[in-house]
Amino acid sequence: MSNGIDGDVILRVDDLKKYFTPHQGFLQSFGKVRKVVRAVDGVSFEIRRGEIFGLIGESGSGKTTTGKLVMKLIDPTSGRILFNGRDVTSIGQAETKEYRRQVQMIFQDPYASMNPRFKIRDVLEEPLEIHRISGNRAERDTRVVRALTEVKLTPPEDFMGRFPHMLSGGQRQRVATARTLILNPAMLVADEPVSMIDLSTRAEILHMMKDVQRDLGLTYLYITHDLSTARYFTDRIAVMYLGRIVEMGRADDIIDHPAHPYTRALIEAVPEPVTGKVDEVKELPISGEIPSPSNIPPGCRFHTRCPFAKEECRAEAEPELMDLGGGHYHACRRWKEIG
């Protein structure tokens, strides 16, 4: 399946929660009860093999924390992460290492994620050493050459001897991708991989990532705030708000027929490069900014900003994701009325 929609589940996240307790000084310990930051507050989704799954949200939505949990960079407060059907939240060190070989990460900042004193060859060889798959020099070189070829940094020999500062942002992000591929991973977690890349080359990097995904049958978890690239790049999208998924489905369905008022507002706010809008003041369906995750509103957590909110949205329990059919889910109890 090229789009992976019908593939088997490679990663399942089950009611995942991550609460942070802020550090408290001695004097503060006499004060009021400290506020827990509920960064991720009951998130569940499935990613199928060969699929590109997008997690979308504003800052403070919990998308990056979710990515870190999936990478096992932090431990969840509760909930499970199943990789190939196996719970990886409670595995030991050796298994974690193997898990991390299979699930690799591409970071946002291509300038900060590489040791400036390493040549590209060293950058790419380091994971082999860490995972003790080094073999001999010739074998390592073969792997490095192959990885660089996969990300279209050709001829690879030209790049192996260079330092990161000699490369453009786009080329570095290619190296970052090559560094993940060298370990033959099954899945990549990419947190805003193109947000620091110039607009003119952003599409080039996304193309490359898509080609690599197709060629090697990889699965991606793509984390971003940018709906426009998500529509182009992903198969399915989950929209997060204050630590929870409020809508999930095929990228085109979500963007063409959003059900949740928050998704609608996000789409509404995206600028479009067409003429005739200078004198317009954009009507924004929602006001204010995202509340603090240490102070999540009761009931539906979006009700404080929702133009359609009624008493029931505040007073009743938080709505769960509801199925609209065709794999489109949303968490708005009033969606029928607001049409």
């Binding site: 504003e58 800052s59 453009s168 786009g170 110039d198 607009l199 003119s200 080359t201 952003r202 599409a203 080039e204 996304l206 193309h207 705030h225 940018d226 709906l227 426009s228 690239t229 529509r231 182009y232 085109d252 963007i255 507002a265 996000l266 789409i267 509404e268 706010a269 995206v270 600028p271 479009e272 490069p273 067409v274 003429t275 005739g276 809008k277 200078v278 317009e280 003041v281 954009k282 924004l284 929602i286 006001s287 900014e289 995202i290």
Partner: protein
């Protein structure tokens, strides 16, 4: 036509480094009418921000003016003594909201104290009077008056940006340079700030220079758009001329627009511009865009195209456009 408030003529601004002179702005000319928003758009390194700080006559070292004029209300500000600039131009007539300015608020002072500084320094205002004015301006940008007692870390990104915008307006400038004022903000907050800027522009009768790399955002705010490439103007035209049905004239603008993802339109494949912008110490011969240009021909490789009017109010620097 309304009065021209700012005019840039053949401006050259180079950064002198040990490796040579980086020609960050190389013979750039445009003008800004009262009440107009002019967009400066281009990739990183094209000279947008250099232009912004240049217009305040405070080029970032080792940058130096190497020629040309900046006329503010008809007076060239480049040869003016620093005292005169401070008294009469910088912040007074031309002010700026810097990129990432909201992160430049001092964490140890309250918002009120930081805002007060500007007024005391430039106007020698009494505390009580200044406080009144601060409250008034906070109102203009949609913030409650009690924000003055708060520290920057207590405010959200959008609120901090509003504080910075209010501060930029205090001295009643005529031109405000906005350098990526919404880049670090979320899309909904960005839309709120853009609405606010449009409102303030009317209230205070301002002219804006709106610097961004985002062509889609530029379409929503700027009356005219100046597309820069490698320290030069590639194309300058009205919103309609750049974003209208007919499409832009310069191949660079065309490609940049094609690389801008459109949310409301399903595309199978996004295009991109292969290669990277040139090194500005030794820019390529001929048109600076020719190594990346799909339409380049022999002439483009040897002869640099001038910026020429191709239809009323529409300038471009491309041999193809002159044909």
């Amino acid at each position: 036509m309304s009065e021209t408030i700012l005019q840039v003529k053949n401006l050259k601004l180079y950064y002198h480094t040990s490796k040579g002179s980086v020609k960050a702005l190389d013979d750039v000319s445009f003008d800004l009418a009262a009440g107009e928003t002019l967009g400066l758009v281009g990739e990183s390194g094209c000279g947008k921000t250099t232009m912004g700080t240049g217009l305040l006559r405070m080029p970032t070292p080792p940058g130096r003016f190497e020629g040309g004029q900046i006329l503010v209300e008809g007076r060239d500000i480049i040869p003016l003594p620093e005292r005169e600039i401070r008294k009469d131009v910088r912040w007074e007539k031309v002010s700026m909201v810097f990129q990432g300015a909201m992160n430049c608020l001092t964490p140890v002072y309250t918002i009120g104290k930081q805002m007060m500084e500007t007024l005391q320094e430039h106007r020698g205002m009494e505390k009580a009077e200044a406080q009144e004015l601060i409250k008034e301006y906070l109102g203009y940008v949609g913030l409650p008056a009690d924000v003055t007692a708060r520290y920057p870390h207590e405010l959200s990104g959008g609120m901090k940006q509003r504080v910075v915008i209010a501060t930029a307006l205090f001295l009643k400038p005529r031109v405000v340079i906005l350098d990526e004022p919404t880049t670090a903000l979320d899309v909904i907050v960005q839309a709120q700030i853009i609405n606010l800027l449009k409102k303030l522009k009317k209230t205070f009768d301002l002219s804006f220079i709106f610097i961004t790399h985002d062509l889609a955002l530029e379409a929503e705010v700027s009356d005219r758009i100046c597309v820069m490439y490698a320290g030069k103007i590639a194309e300058l035209g009205s919103n309609e001329q750049i974003y209208g049905e007919k499409g832009p004239a310069h191949p660079y603008t065309e490609r940049l627009l094609a690389a801008t993802p459109r949310l409301r339109r399903k595309v199978e494949s996004l295009s991109f511009i292969p290669g990277t912008p040139p090194d500005l110490i030794t820019p390529p011969m001929g048109c600076r865009f020719h190594p990346r240009c799909p339409k380049a021909y022999d002439r483009c490789r040897v002869e640099e195209p001038p910026v020429r009017e191709i239809e009323p109010g529409h300038m471009a620097a491309c041999w193809r456009c002159f044909e």
